[in-house]
Symmetry: C2
Subunit: 239 residues, 2 copies
DNA sequence: CAGTGGTCTAGACCACCTT
DNA sequence: AGGTGGTCTAGACCACTGC
């Protein structure tokens, strides 16, 4: 076979190769991949081996397959995907779709803690973006987003940020967020934020610290959100 | 083949049959299953079809497989499994192992809300158990657990409840919790609980409402926990 | 109709565990 | 050595899509 004589299973080698192509942009979101048979011939392995690699990538949400049509690079810009990482819900109920207002945006050097989490040099530049998100015209979430300029060049030059930043990341910077790590605390809302959320000083709010991970495993964004917990909850299923 | 001429894929029929056997206790936790070849012959399908069903059950954590040894019913009583649904961590750090003290236990009829969530009759009986969990001798969590007596007969007759109730559920009642749904809020700690957690009145705490789901899909337990958020966080990875 | 992915089979060889 | 799961192959047929 034409692949390296590695010690790993063949399907794993195929998986790694195809994943690398995806990460490097050889195939772009929504693009149709070659069929199983074509890939198998190109790589010199059987169709079943290619299938095993492809199905694993589907399980990890990198690809989508449709019988009769083909295999596509996952888009992650559809309704269902946009809310994959948005866990705030009405109690026992509906998904909440927020409107968003940008309060401010500025460049600065990273803090020590941020540099560590983002694997950046101590003097690297980031953009700090502050937004307020409202549900039914009632302010509900205030969040601070940290974006490394090395990952998102001149991202602060964008006018009109989309409601879901991940769309911008994917379409303009080739960054596809595949997983997030959240740490959730209960805190008294900082005085400076109380008025933005129409809350009394000292009200309990959820503080959600998030790291977002790109398809290649790098942490590409940090955010800290303060969420009014009066009318909705952070909802998650563990399996 | 000996299976019903259903419209579903063969491997799905095999999956359903094997899952039913597990649910009904035909195979018990930690028991060794017959080999692929034996199952394939018994069911009149090929080894590959049995393998596909088994691998899906492994993905859903119902089974564990070991090369050279065989296929076993998942135990869920090992360290790693006990903390699968315990998401409280030190910030960026260690898993916390709590000690537990029972404050009280009583029988009563379900509330309307509980009956709905647990799919019980309006006059069904439940046990309400209140516990305080401490980390390093500091009280950190106070939780109220609702257990239907129809699911856990005479559970309040147990002396010496284990730290992780799920062990008791599995070993004594054949209940294997496969997933949980959490709803998380930030609230001021109820006055009655403040002293138990050594917190000032009105301190912000995490309130975690949990539904636990058995292997057969039934909700078998509800719990409400109030967690001091001073020294640890609810940590979760979304993929 | 041709092309795609989805299912199912059968057989081979390998890696690992136990005896 | 014998049994187990893990990998890989090859070929058949089915179900869905689009021309």
């Amino acid at each position: 076979m034409s692949l390296s004589a590695g010690f790993q299973p063949l399907y794993k080698q195929v998986y790694d190769l195809l994943t690398t192509r995806l990460v490097e942009g050889y195939w772009k979101p929504s693009q149709l991949l070659p069929s199983e048979m074509v890939l198998a011939e190109e790589l010199g392995v059987s169709q079943g081996t290619v299938r095993k690699a492809l199905n694993q990538m589907v399980a990890e949400k990198m690809l989508q397959r449709q019988q009769g049509k083909g295999t596509f690079v996952a888009e992650h810009t559809q309704e269902s995907d946009l809310f994959r990482f948005f866990r705030l819900r009405e109690p026992h109920g509906e998904i909440l779709i927020p409107e968003t207002v940008v309060l401010g945006s500025s460049r600065r050097t990273v803090s020590e803690d941020e540099a560590k989490k983002l694997s950046l040099d101590a003097n690297a530049l980031v953009v700090e973006l502050t937004r307020v998100r409202s549900i039914h015209n009632k302010p509900a979430i205030i969040e601070k987003v940290i974006q490394p300029l090395s990952v998102f060049p001149d991202i602060d030059k964008n006018t009109d940020l989309p409601n879901a930043l991940y769309i911008l990341y994917q379409e303009k910077y080739g960054i596809t967020v595949m997983s997030v790590n959240d740490e959730i605390r209960a805190v008294e809302i900082p005085d400076a934020y109380a008025q933005h959320l129409d809350l009394a000083k000292g009200s309990p709010v959820l503080m959600i610290e998030r790291s977002s991970v790109n398809i290649d495993g790098r942490v590409v964004e940090l955010s800290t959100a303060y969420c009014s917990s009066e009318n909705f909850v952070y909802s998650v299923q563990l399996t």
